[in-house]
Subunit: 470 residues, 2 copies
């Protein structure tokens, strides 16, 4: 063990230092197994005070730290990939739900609490914590906030940023900022909280957070809908926001090929509609009163059918049927792995620009790789399409995936022209870092660098993530 890890063991106890190569694998392995990272070791503090001591020691000794939650990030923000001098600071032992306040509808949780546990703690108190992601069983609140996580509930409840009222943060010099406010209104200075949210651990280490809770919906209506094209889906979205009789909480677009993949590879799934359609929408409307909701949604869909923006519709008649509809959407990412290589784009454009984006991006990738199979799906209500492209049938997977960057570049060029984002949900991390200068206003990059330099002049925290290391 290195001298610095020895000193860290003095803070957290030797059993909370991991240096064995095998034991380090879960911290260094990217969860899609795209790459392995390198680190001196893993240190697992058990309290905010220990995190502060560790960071102070790191700052004094010129040690670099990479904070990590559940290690589910998709852009390498949580895994050092340089020469291996970094130490991973795992927040997993900070796993207490400190308080749940049903009068104020807030909850204080530590960074290492998994999203699922946070959801469960809210539900046990009769409340909803709406953040919802594929990796919710293992991702942590600290990571969710550090990456400003999105997911399927953003349409009605916002991103992780909008769900947080206050933070406790260990700064790059080891000081603790106690910003654990439970206030709905507080205008007494600069908004520091939102500087740490989405900063991927480069400005401070989030150790705890005050989260917002919401009433559980009293009723939900879930519909699986056939739509002729993305333009119709967009028209349906706008009609549904005002006219579906409740709060529109889900609006997910899916292409026929994605449904085909799910039906082919996911057991126990079936097409809810009798005729195939080029596109589908999973729509959910929530309300605080069950009275009349289904009837209202039915009337709304009847009208949409008449207008031709919906061509067929199934309304879930039971919780089982609702779960079946959701499964079609939830499996859509996983099943693509059974169809060979898939080149992925986590992009967003202004909501109105999605039909144009889809048209142009599909044409570009089909011209680049004849026979490739675009499977664009996701959060149409947020302007956030996961533009995944499966390899041509029978093509060589490795050869296809070798074109990843080239395809990304072509798709990102369209995204940028449409004033979109090359990372809607997943962040920048290490994998997209070198793309930033190509898409960001230089003024904005200057501001980002200036803020990093001000808060972390020694470059202690997460070097090489988001911005190039010094």
């Amino acid at each position: 063990m290195s001298a610095i890890l020895d000193r860290m063991a003095g803070i957290v106890g030797a059993k909370n230092i991991v240096t064995d190569a095998d034991a380090m694998v879960p911290y260094l392995k990217e969860w899609r197994d795209l790459f392995r990272g390198k680190a001196q070791g893993i240190v697992r503090p058990g309290s905010t005070a220990e995190v502060a001591e560790l960071v102070k020691l790191a700052a004094e000794t010129g040690t670099t730290l990479v904070p990590q939650g559940g290690n589910t990030g998709l852009v390498g923000g949580q895994i050092p990939i340089a020469e291996g001098r970094e130490i991973i600071l795992s927040l997993q032992r900070l796993d207490k739900v400190r308080a749940v306040d049903t009068d104020g509808d807030t909850m204080i949780v530590e960074a290492g609490v998994t999203l699922k546990r946070a959801q469960d703690a809210a539900e046990a108190a009769g409340r909803l914590f709406p953040l919802s992601l594929a990796s919710e069983g293992s991702c942590t609140i600290g990571g969710n906030l550090s990456t400003n996580a999105g997911g399927t509930a953003v349409l009605a409840y916002g991103n992780a940023r909008e769900l947080c009222l206050g933070l406790e943060v260990v700064l790059p010099d080891g000081r603790i900022w106690n910003g654990l406010r439970q206030l709905r209104k507080d205008n007494t200075g600069y908004d520091l909280k939102d500087l740490f949210i989405g900063a991927e651990g480069t400005l401070g280490i989030i150790t705890a957070a005050v989260l917002k809770l919401f009433p559980l919906p009293a009723a939900r209506a879930t519909a699986f809908l056939a739509v002729p094209d993305p333009e119709a889906a967009l028209a349906l979205l706008n009609a549904a926001k005002a006219g579906a009789g409740g709060t529109l909480t889900t609006f997910e677009l899916m292409p026929r090929i994605g449904l085909d993949f799910v039906l082919r590879h996911a057991s126990g799934t079936r097409d809810p509609l009798s005729e195939p359609s080029p596109w589908y929408v999973l729509m959910e409307v929530s309300a605080q009163s069950a009275a009349g909701l289904d009837e209202h949604v039915e009337a709304f869909l009847g009208d949409a059918l008449e207008k031709g923006i919906v061509t067929d519709a199934a309304l879930a008649g039971s919780l089982t049927q609702r779960a079946d509809f959701w499964k079609l959407r939830e499996m859509m990412s996983e099943v693509q792995t059974y169809e060979g290589g898939s080149i992925k784009h986590d992009v967003s454009v202004p909501v109105h620009a999605q039909p144009e984006f889809l048209k142009r991006a599909i044409a570009v990738v089909e011209a680049m790789v004849p026979g490739c199979r675009p499977v664009p799906f996701g959060h149409l209500g947020d302007g956030n399409i996961h533009f995944n492209v499966s390899q041509p049938v029978g093509a060589d997977k490795a050869a296809y995936l070798a074109g990843w960057s080239e395809m990304n570049e072509a798709v990102h060029a369209i995204v940028t022209e449409l004033h979109g984002s090359i990372s809607a949900e997943h962040g920048i991390g290490r994998l997209k870092r070198d793309l930033l200068p190509g898409v960001k206003d230089p003024v904005e990059l200057d501001l980002m660098r200036a803020i990093k330099q001000t808060l972390d002049p020694r470059g202690v925290l997460n070097p090489g993530a988001m911005l190039a290391a010094k």
Copy 2:
């Protein structure tokens, strides 16, 4: 005219420079007429490019600028009060609604557009821009964002911060940051937008913004309710969030004395209930379907009456009656001026702590000034009570108001003990600046100063607001 104003006239044209003492009054007069500011002159640019040129010139020449919107701020953030070397940069001529996008539910407006005009532009497009304040006819979007304005719709829609997707900002060196994003999801770097929102023009000048639009509610149910005490009001709040059959969009607390003042001084008002009650709640529930809403709210209130958390209730049966109920709340601030001096506190505490805050704060001020008349009212749903205290009947107004700071200090001490905020809505400006070190974590003040120093090293923008001038 000074040499610098001469050069500024070269940028904006001579007719857009104001130096005449009388003509400067509207820019220098605090709107409650509490004080007059001092300035070299007023400069009124007509475009973002002109703002940028002016700021660049100021930075080069060591001139200090105070940005101003509708001059409705309540803490002197928009009015220089030092020796008069500052120049006020009025954003009022940047008054274009640049775009309204009903597909993406966004609107791009310039900083000088009044809140009322922004609301109207949204409504003309069949959408809701929910920010709503007493001064909406004259306050501007730039000022609303620079102060992170609150108001009566925060409960359901959030503060100004939550209603903004992107900004255009002129930085303290005159560069323009174009962050006018219309994206619902974008995780490509630090959250700069929220650093400028609520910064009171000390870090940059907001020149335009992308605002979020919402569907217009299809139906509203508005109730004027008698409640025995703040504890009951809090229980009612929590029951209503989940059980009133729609989205709880308003929950305002009022004391009997406040209602008495309104009935005494505001013409055309009457008590909707037959018996007096110590406390009242104005509650509004909004829904996307009218079907069953009134019946649901009636059933909910019947249940609350049975439980004793409501002792009497009136449900608005018409738009006129709804307006009458709202008027009782809306007049509650103004009518206090007819009862002599009023010492004000714009404070918030965690929602659950409000009954304790009210009990302690009322006891403290009554002990300080026997016979004084506390009129605490406002946004119970947000933890934000306007704790106003009217002078004793027949007391000397000036002598009473001389105790302003002392009473503030005593009330703020309770707020701070309860982990509250001494400025829930209005900001810090110049009037509360010297209170900050007493209530803020020194770590947080350090971070604020470091950020100011990084973005505005020369101290060009709004010196003396929020933080002491260099």
